[in-house]
Subunit: 402 residues, 2 copies
Amino acid sequence: VEQGVEELLTRGVAEIIVLDEFKQMLASGKPLRLKMGFDPSAPDIHLGHVVGLRKLRQLQALGHTVVLIVADWTAQIGDPSGQSATRRMLSREEVLANAETYLQQFFKIVDKARTEIRWQSEWYGKFGLEDVIRLSSKFTVAQFLAREDFAKRFAAGSPIAITELLYPLLQAYDSVAIEADVEFGGTDQKFNILVGRELQRIVGQPPQQVFLVPILVGTDGVQKMSKSLGNYIGITEPPEEMYGKVMSLADAVMLDYFWLLTDVSQLEIDQMRLQLDAGEVNPRDVKMRLAFEIVSQFHGHQAAEAAAEEFRRVFQRRELPTEIPTVVVDREKYAGKPVPIWDLLLTAGLVKSGMEARRMVSQGAVSVDSARVTEQEPFVEVVPGMVIRVGKRRFARLEFER
Amino acid sequence: VEQGVEELLTRGVAEIIVLDEFKQMLASGKPLRLKMGFDPSAPDIHLGHVVGLRKLRQLQALGHTVVLIVADWTAQIGDPSGQSATRRMLSREEVLANAETYLQQFFKIVDKARTEIRWQSEWYGKFGLEDVIRLSSKFTVAQFLAREDFAKRFAAGSPIAITELLYPLLQAYDSVAIEADVEFGGTDQKFNILVGRELQRIVGQPPQQVFLVPILVGTDGVQKMSKSLGNYIGITEPPEEMYGKVMSLADAVMLDYFWLLTDVSQLEIDQMRLQLDAGEVNPRDVKMRLAFEIVSQFHGHQAAEAAAEEFRRVFQRRELPTEIPTVVVDREKYAGKPVPIWDLLLTAGLVKSGMEARRMVSQGAVSVDSARVTEQEPFVEVVPGMVIRVGKRRFARLEFER
């Protein structure tokens, strides 16, 4: 258990504030209220969210309760990109539909039996101007403009609606409303979650702990995973698509994915790293292991197996075969001058007749070193090692005799 | 009438935005709604407020309506000194009592029959978070921090509560709620009133005109008149006190007071200026005219006459008489050495006996050149021209013989 708790507090964790206090809480045996917010304007869960949700599930396994906040009020304000100061208000029906979508996905990871669902409407539906005045008197403009993204926008002269300063206040008040013991979020939520901690202190509640998970890099290996950047893997995507997207992942980040998104042990991950560094293993094979692990979490082993099989089939069809037959051609005849492609196709045995050769060219099915050859420009010059291809499956590598 | 309107738009006016639009409004003959706010945490009216209230009365005389807003909500926030982020909430009873006090004073200047009284509670009592979000989305943090006092405090690192940004928003919304045509205020209200104008434009109302009056300098002749600085003249102060406070006014600003607070004509004021510059008139006499004009506005002619009489009496009692008897003393005996005060008092004939002299000193009734002489330090050195005083009425100026 000691070992387990140690891993719980380090693996997939960016920062815990205050770590010692949080350890004492866990040791006390008291069931904790783990606050997690959900923005109903973005109901789909992708792997970037899964990093934190896995931590929730691990803590639930120790007897703690997840309190999921349906942020139907703060979703209207928007935070923090500030492209539009306020978003369109979602209708009650849209919020309900999105919440249903989200919860279906959420409970693929989080234990439903140990989850309490709370709507901001419970407290913000009757929130009056007097409450807003009282709440907003607790913090200063300078404190909030110190938040990194606000500071940058303010310095750059980009507009920050006054409403946006309300966002951290309302998120903070959520913690008071549900008496949160711990709030979870990505590292970009540090400021907002600390405001919640401070507000609880001000109103006389025990201040919540801040549990920050790393921001997952998207499939491009560079940017934060996000739906709007198109570099995401949604947890409801079909097995083959999910598998294929993992396979498109930049090699550099695949071990981070093992660390943040799978149960593969630290020891195994370390071994993979050594093997990759030494060139003893094909990165593609490591990534197929990763794809299998991730797909099986959301779709089960059988679907993951099928996705792997499908991937192999498609992969082998699309890529150049590892074995391309070499055809030796007469240097006298071909070196240093353009020759018609039909001549080469016949010589290499890729077509059975000049007729077939012309037909394949006119269909656009003939390429030289991946560049299509056309009827308008049928002449090519032979270069040793050049690959000629006809259709999807016929290849020949041309060489001159030694 | 032309002449009257011209004076209305210039005398006691700092700025009108937009002057041409406002002139057109006046010319249209449509009754205008003149917005004026009142902070029920500060119910007493002093001459600083009177500058604007006189303009309201002048416009009422042309048929326009004053809409007085009892700012029972914004009073809770406080603006803009920022010493305390939010003030204590006034109880309903306190607000009512203060409103009563204020209105009694207000209607000494403004025509009650052409005044509509509105309470912010009408619209803010049911103002919800959704309304706050909608309102605060219309303006940016940078726009508000550009307000001079905010900019200074922000630059100096002084705290600005987020609540304080709500203040201009709520004041602006008041204009929308009452459909103001013109809002009145001191020049320090320019920013807030312009926010109201802008908000009306945003919500599709005709934007209000901004009518700014000068800030009245207090009796010290330097600082803005304000209760907290103690340099104010309240309009409910008794006639004698009011008269005396006007007489304590710095000479340099007394003509401004004529201009801003009396009906004395421009021509007369110009004449006074010429006479004062030429030394043809005693500033004290000009100020007595001012005191009379002001006191009679709030207490009537008779009370003003009585106050003037009382002032003359007290003034002559308190000041050094213009004729102080000179007593020539023996240079041999007194020059260049300390002598006991009783000796001087007897010599000057200010007391009848050494006993009386000692008694007056022990009572603290004896002074030399306005410095009290004590039993502990009874020795003084005679300097030619030195004035010895016993009690309120006995004086002697000491000189050596020529």
